[in-house]
């Protein structure tokens, strides 16, 4: 197992290298050159010259690349042209909000997606199955941001059941940055429930696409596994239906679902950009969304790098978790 993890870590290095090259190339092709782009509106002739020197723009390209890597490793992404704060500080501040939202959405998607997909497969061709398949198709066809507005319009504006935006109304004491957790830590249950209520709508909007994808993969996978020879073997042993379903069908059917869940984690980042903008949820996505309008390149650069890093990490975790559930990967070979 340890050998497997180490091997995967080594395999991640070339990927990281290519990604860093891509971001570097992106930075080089920004309008007006990287220095001007990174300085934004505050640029002056000498500030550009200073940054040019700092980035080594007058030096050969590989020196520039090495300096670029150096800046990444020291977490020096410059200051945001929108807020004037260091980008690193902004990210640190917004990180918990996005994790909280993303985790909630993922839990919702998995908690509902797997049972729906499983039941649809079991009742293949039934009304329930058709309705599920159609609603997942619609779910993917709805622009996420519109769904967000729709939910907000119905549940916040029309029925006034849930708060329309933001992370909390009262504001809990800030300890971890996770609004729900902070309330619990201080024993302030009102703050926790307030934070949870604020979470419902954005999490639901963000969960739609992963939910739809998980339903479809689960359904297809269960259908595949039900046709497998070993399920017939299980039947020939006279096992009871629940045992066959749980131990033989579901356990195998969930393998591809696990991969999908992992990959959806990466996609949540993209969905978060739209959802957080709709619900004024001050997380990483909101940082990116507000940064785009102003072409806040230091912020964009840092967030793109972060997304790429998260992608590599998530894939690594998916591989490892896959190895844990599937003995064929874990043992031997």
């Amino acid at each position: 197992m340890l050998r497997f993890i180490v091997r995967r870590l080594i395999q991640a290095i070339p990927t990281l290298f290519i990604l860093s090259l891509l971001v570097f190339a992106w930075l080089r092709s920004l309008p007006g050159g990287p220095a001007a782009a990174l300085l934004g509106e505050r640029q002056t002739a000498e500030s550009i010259a200073r940054l040019n020197a700092a980035m080594g723009l007058d030096q050969p390209i590989y020196v520039q690349y090495i300096k670029f890597l150096g800046r990444i490793f020291t977490g020096d992404f410059g200051t945001s042209t929108v807020s004037g704060d260091p980008v690193m500080a902004e990210i640190r501040r917004s990180f918990p909000a996005t994790i909280e939202l993303g985790l909630c959405a993922l839990i919702l998607a998995v908690l509902f997606g797997i049972p729906f997909g499983y039941l649809a497969a079991r009742r293949r061709g039934s009304f329930f199955d058709n309705a599920t398949v159609i609603s997942t198709l619609v779910g993917v066809a709805i622009p996420v941001f519109f769904l967000g507005f729709l939910l907000k319009y119905i549940f916040a504006n029309q029925f006034r059941l849930l708060p329309p935006s933001g992370r909390y109304a009262v504001g809990a004491p800030d300890i971890t940055g996770f609004a729900t957790l902070d309330g619990l830590l201080t024993g302030d249950l009102a703050a926790t429930s307030d934070a949870l209520l604020h979470l419902v709508l954005p999490a639901a909007a963000l969960a739609t696409i992963p939910f739809a994808v998980i339903v479809r993969i689960t359904r297809a996978s269960v259908l595949d596994v039900m046709d497998e020879d070993f399920v017939r073997t299980a039947e020939s042993k006279g096992l009871t239906t629940p045992v066959i379903r749980r131990r033989h069908v579901l356990r195998n059917a969930l393998l591809p679902v696990a991969t999908t869940i992992g990959l959806q984690t990466g996609l949540l980042l993209a969905g978060a950009v739209l959802t957080e903008k709709v619900f004024v949820w001050r997380g990483l996505g909101w940082l990116l969304a507000t940064g785009i309008e102003q072409r806040d390149y230091p912020r964009l650069q840092a967030l793109i790098l972060l997304a790429a890093g998260v992608y590599v990490l998530v894939n690594l975790l998916v591989d490892i978790s896959y190895a844990i559930i599937d003995p064929r990967v874990r043992v031997g070979r």
Partner: protein, 332 residues
Amino acid sequence: MPLLDVRDLSVVFKRKGTAPFTAVDNVSFAVEPGQTVGLVGESGSGKSVTSLAVMGLLPKRGAHVTGSVNFDGTELLSLSMKELRNRRGRDLGMVFQDPMSSLNPVITVGRQISEVLQRHRGQDRKEADAGAVAMLDQVGIPDPARRVGEYPHQLSGGMRQRALIAIALACRPRLLIADEPTTALDVTIQAQILKLLADLVRGTETAMIMITHDLGVVAGLCDEVNVMYGGKIVERAERHRLFAEPRHPYTHGLLRSIPRLDAPRGEKLVPIKGSVVDNIPWEGGCAFAPRCPNALQRCRQVMPELEPEDARHLRCHNPVQPAAVAEGRAER
């Protein structure tokens, strides 16, 4: 009284948009306790479907089963799903063709054996695990205590088939159905597995149905052989009789198309012409007639019945004459 008595068993597959397909057509045979009966035929002859029908493993939708399958006084076809599940694995065991795909890849081999013991013997997990080790030992897997904890992909093909046999025999069923148990294996392993199966059922009350396309398998193992063609039994005889004097032209052809070590030098292998066609029209004639060297006008007009003749059952208007068999040998 036979242990298993199959009467007029028919299986018709009906799929939307396609013509109904009769895979098994009024098949009757019986298996005595301790006896080994072979079902032989080319692929598509209905032998595997027959065994799945006996086990009740055909899909509920699309497969229409009629007739009677009487197991020790119980009509299996009219049992409820629950009652059937109580029988499967306990009274009836089955070994499948492809041991790789027939074993669950994410569960240890031991667990796949012990779950049967837990289900039917009411053993707790610990007893059942010990039972699994004993079963693996019995089917000749070396170092069973270590192997129980391994996954199917860690075993060799032959060992996987042994594990599958261990699963089927875990509860000492009274009837074991082996569906082409050696087809997916290397030739060298095939003989070992056949010997194992023979050893395991010999001297016990366990009856066995051996389903195969390979007459060589039947030769060493079966007491009685049923040859199937196009969903029907065309010849049934005691093993030695069948091999010595095949009367149905199809059986005769099958025997002539396999190489034999004891054949006279220079003897040629004679293949049967053509192949099994999809839906065989038994209506209005013999289904084998288009490929049959002995076919008469009558064979294309009247369907032959399975009738006792010459210490066997035979479905043929113009069987191969015993003398001709001997002559065929002598000629070469």
